[in-house]
Assembly symmetry: C2
Homo-oligomer: 192 residues x 2
């Protein structure tokens, strides 16, 4: 028999993800990618595939990592309203501390408009967040922590939709305070 294992595929993909994150899909070259991954192009093509497949795996890795992190973070919080607030505030923290913004949003605007496969992954990611949040909101309404009369679906959409604008705002102004104030106002709206 011959050689079996090789490089750490997950690690290599996470390195590729960093490159795509910084440079975008079209901006990243195969040489950028293989250099960062620490492997040669032959290994890449033998295991992961071409540039597009690598990108797919990179954004899947990104979205799945975020899902795991979000679940873990909100698990211990008993009050649904407190969990919602925690979710919003930790989004603010990430947005204002990540120099390269959000890979999922960048991908949405760069390639999801024309690449159906990418669009589906992004959509699935979005739906995960949606489900996470709507469960909290339903519980919060049930427990009368939220007094908003609106339906849970709309309110979930409404909250999620803030994050993208905050990312944009931070790219343009690099002003943490503005984001924090908007988040505070949003939280106040929910409580009201």
């Amino acid at each position: 028999m011959a050689r079996s294992v090789e490089f750490d595929e997950q690690l290599a993909i996470s390195r590729a993800m960093d490159v795509f994150w910084k440079k975008g899909y079209n901006g990243a070259t195969m040489r950028d990618l293989t250099e960062a991954m620490g492997i040669s192009s032959s290994s890449l093509y033998n295991t992961i595939g071409d540039k597009h497949q690598l990108f797919i795996k990179s954004i899947k890795y990104y979205t799945e990592s975020r899902m795991t992190a979000a679940r873990k973070q909100l698990q211990p919080i008993k009050s649904p309203l407190k969990a919602i607030e925690k979710f919003i505030l930790s989004s603010v923290y990430v947005i204002t501390h990540e120099p390269d913004s959000c890979l999922a949003i960048k991908t949405t605007f760069e390639v999801a408009t024309t690449d159906e496969q990418v669009q589906k992954i992004i959509k699935a990611d979005n739906e995960f967040t949606y489900n996470l949040l709507i469960n909290l909101i339903r519980k919060a309404i049930e427990m009368k922590e939220i007094k908003v009369s609106q339906d849970a679906e709309m309110l979930t959409d409404y909250i999620i939709n803030h994050f993208t604008g905050w990312h944009e705002s931070f790219i343009i102004h690099r002003d943490k305070t503005r984001i924090k104030e908007m988040a505070a106002f949003l939280i106040k709206q929910i409580n009201q």
Copy 2:
């Protein structure tokens, strides 16, 4: 003397803008661009410059066109609150009827993170919208059309920040109703 005029530069730039809009900065090739512009590369380099300069002029053209349109549209509306609502609702219309989303937002996430010149143009565009809206909000508060106790600056930021998320939502779900419902809720919040 020799030849003086040539092709219509503004028209050519608007054609280039369409290509960048659809394909992004990195996704658009010089051959894509010159073909759409109907000119050869020598003419392009003699008058407008290289790819980056063409991009700068394209996004300037985009933002300036939008500014003119916005001013014209809101001019005749007497009530500041009605103007704000009109602004929000016409944003919804554009978002849900534009297959290629918004060039300014796409540019923000594709290149504004690394290209300072682009970032400044996008920032100026954002500030135009900001000023347009804050004037309306101040007047609306003054005329007691808005009962919100928040400061005008924050409220302006808060409103503008919805549009980007709506664009993202429409790319992902292609669902006009979701956008419309969020817009209705936003307007209700302002009135409250």
